[in-house]
Symmetry: D2
Subunit: 255 residues, 4 copies
């Protein structure tokens, strides 16, 4: 799949900052529920179309959207408009690697108007989309070995979170250098969108953490769609989990 | 309010890791929606009772729950049981400061059983709860000045996230030293639960970041309940936002 | 509780008909989900305050809202505004009986503006509300005996529904004559809001249906709040269900 | 489309009656929210696949599911299992007309086990499904003329509901005689699934009600999928609504 590309959608809440100011100061709990509801609804719609969305920072989400057309993006946008009090705009970017794809998505969306413009509402910025057959994505699903035994059941909840979030910031940085993206997806799980990142690179990353007493494991999946690649990656991670250390810390499947 | 204490609830999904393994490998999108739905529902229930929940790592959430009784925790737990396919257990901790409170919550819950035990389901671990009148909480609501102009409308979405997540990991670490907790709440917003942290400390933190070209601003609120303290903090932050730099980067209200 | 009154809230979607026209003709599935989401959210909010909402016709819902203040109604209204793309208006009526209470609620709301007015949005019409101690409500929870054996597992689904809906229209009519309200609540269940309706009346209703080969049973609960009265009524109905016909078809509890 | 058939799915909550008994008597508000949440989620999933679901009695829903395969039904079932505390079973029926299709769906499901069996959980009963090209459905969307002016803004809310529910029971009965199905969908709206019912029959129905001072209007759509047929029907109804009585009370479009 050497010459295949990846498609990333940047999903941005329109004029969200100014809007939050209009609903009064007793709003944090409202925003937390609204952001979670929106993310859940957006995830479901992209997953129905074989994509996968990461909550990222909630006011901006990132989706791997291989094979999802502009018209399908419009369907998603329209259905959310009738369900929520805020609207979304989207930029659809295509690139040789995930970092480039999200940068293109960002530029396309920025060219249409500011995230805080009152006039920009419900737009989709796209110069082209990928057919599913010409798309590919490599998903790397990581977790931390034995975190329940070493942290959750021993340390305080906040100390565990501090450990996980430090690791997150480090891994984000490392992935950027490979033109890849990394997302925290809950618990002790991270998902990398890592087209073109070689197995040796990931093995070397795992090794460098082992030397710092952080034992990561990783399942990798490669497929045309994000949902399928994630399924393969998770399946490989499950196989490692169930092997009680007899299997290597890294396995891959390509569809 | 010198001698007042704070109450923190640790909310843990029961046997969540093993459960996810039972629903097949094509599950990441399912878990993302489920985690968001659960968080939204839990936030609404605590907010109805004047508390505030942080998503933290989604499989473990942390709530400031001043004044919420054990019986009210049981009501919340019961209502969620009839709405979701997974159950939650909770530890309710009381402490002189937020860090101690969450550590006590963690210990109480750990003493009852592992987060991955099949037998632990729907328990509440608590040795005591605080009346609202004997509770207090200091909430510090931070955001990054002009992030839309300096990042969102300029850099790529992922680079903005990397910037925010690095800052998050740093602030978490800094707050821990003050026996305080810090949570990312979306966008460029962080909320600190910071009983006893002096204004000078926060001013000094803002100054140290200004010298690194990161301009933070902060509104602080102090009240008996988490929801009220957050309202005051947000109200102060809004006032700074609307003052176009004429107001100081830090304001406080005590109820 | 002879002289106690009941409070009923009429909840109306603002300008709903015209709004639906703006979202295009491919909308029925959107409206079905939106109406259900709104009802679920409204039910949760009233139930948190010891009320009970009936979906009625979805664009107009009716709640027994004893003890829920105008301020609490405003809280409910405000929180929904930040969650949904449509707003609600409410009329709060007090009466000697449920029929009168809903008529007063209707008149108060009508006096403020048409349900299809573009200008009426998010209003609450109320001349007074009842303290919980001066409120009372009698809830009668009916179901059809052995409907699974006689219909669900034998007839077609639609024929069962036709049977239930005919019964619903008849019971609504009969209850109106008693200044009481009757609502279908799903399955083969009906809930009557029936302050002042005597046990003999209900026993006579059950007897008249028995003679037509429709075996109904009924649990009754009387309490200050709607949620408590419903709990007592359901508890009594459960007792009849579990008694295998040895208990009478009607039992009552007064708190 | 003379010889085309229609596919109807009966969606039944598994062992729902007994399950409700396990969650205590303070449950009516819980069930109301759960039923609405389930319906909303099921509607979204069928609509994504061009179907349309009617809430019917909530514990049993009916969907027009032309073109939706058994595998797609399984996907819907699986995704709901990970979102809700109750499971669903489904019967997929094909017939020359909608009544026959739902009767076949009912029989297939009944043959597998009782709706109240503890052992029947998450099954799908189907002997065949229809390709979208060999399917057809005629949807008739009715509403009551000027109900806002004649009822909503004049009578009490409950009296309006009584009027609508009586009409519903009557129309259900009339449709059954035509081997068609009729569903209340909220407000003053009814949707008929009426393959093969001739325009003259519907015109005659409208005329008979006009003579009783009930002015109905109706838009009809005919298409392969339920969602498309509903869109056409609603579009025709909108055209009548916007014509201020100049257009006839009945229009049809066939795709």
């Amino acid at each position: 799949m050497d010459h295949k590309q990846v498609q990333v959608t940047l999903i941005q809440l329109d004029n969200y900052g100014p809007w939050t100011g209009t609903i009064g100061a007793d709003r944090e709990h409202v925003l937390q529920s609204l952001q979670a509801d929106l993310y859940s609804a957006i995830e479901r719609r992209f997953a129905e179309r074989e994509g996968l969305v990461f909550f990222n920072r909630f006011d901006e989400m990132l989706a791997v959207s291989n094979g999802i057309t502009k018209t399908q993006h419009e369907e998603i946008q329209r259905s959310l408009r009738n369900e929520f009090p805020v609207t979304i705009s989207m930029g659809i970017g295509v690139g040789e690697n995930p970092f480039e794809a999200q940068r293109n998505a960002s530029r396309l969306l920025q060219s249409i108007g500011s995230a805080q413009s009152e006039r920009r509402s419900g737009v989709i910025a796209s110069d082209r989309t990928l057919d599913i057959d010409e798309s590919y994505v490599q998903i790397a699903h990581f977790d931390i070995d034995d975190i329940t035994e070493t942290h959750t059941d021993r340390s305080s909840a906040y100390e565990t979170s501090l450990h996980v979030m430090k690791l997150y910031a480090e891994l984000m940085q490392l992935f950027t250098k490979q033109n890849a993206l990394l997302f925290f997806v809950g618990g002790d799980n991270f998902i990398g969108v890592a087209n073109g990142v070689k197995l040796e690179e990931i093995e070397s990353l795992l090794a460098s953490y082992r030397s710092k007493q952080v034992r990561l494991k990783c399942g990798i999946g490669i497929a045309h769609s994000a949902r399928k690649a994630a399924e393969l990656a998770t399946s490989n991670l499950d196989r490692i989990r169930n092997s009680n250390g007899e299997k290597p810390a890294l396995t891959t499947t390509m569809l």
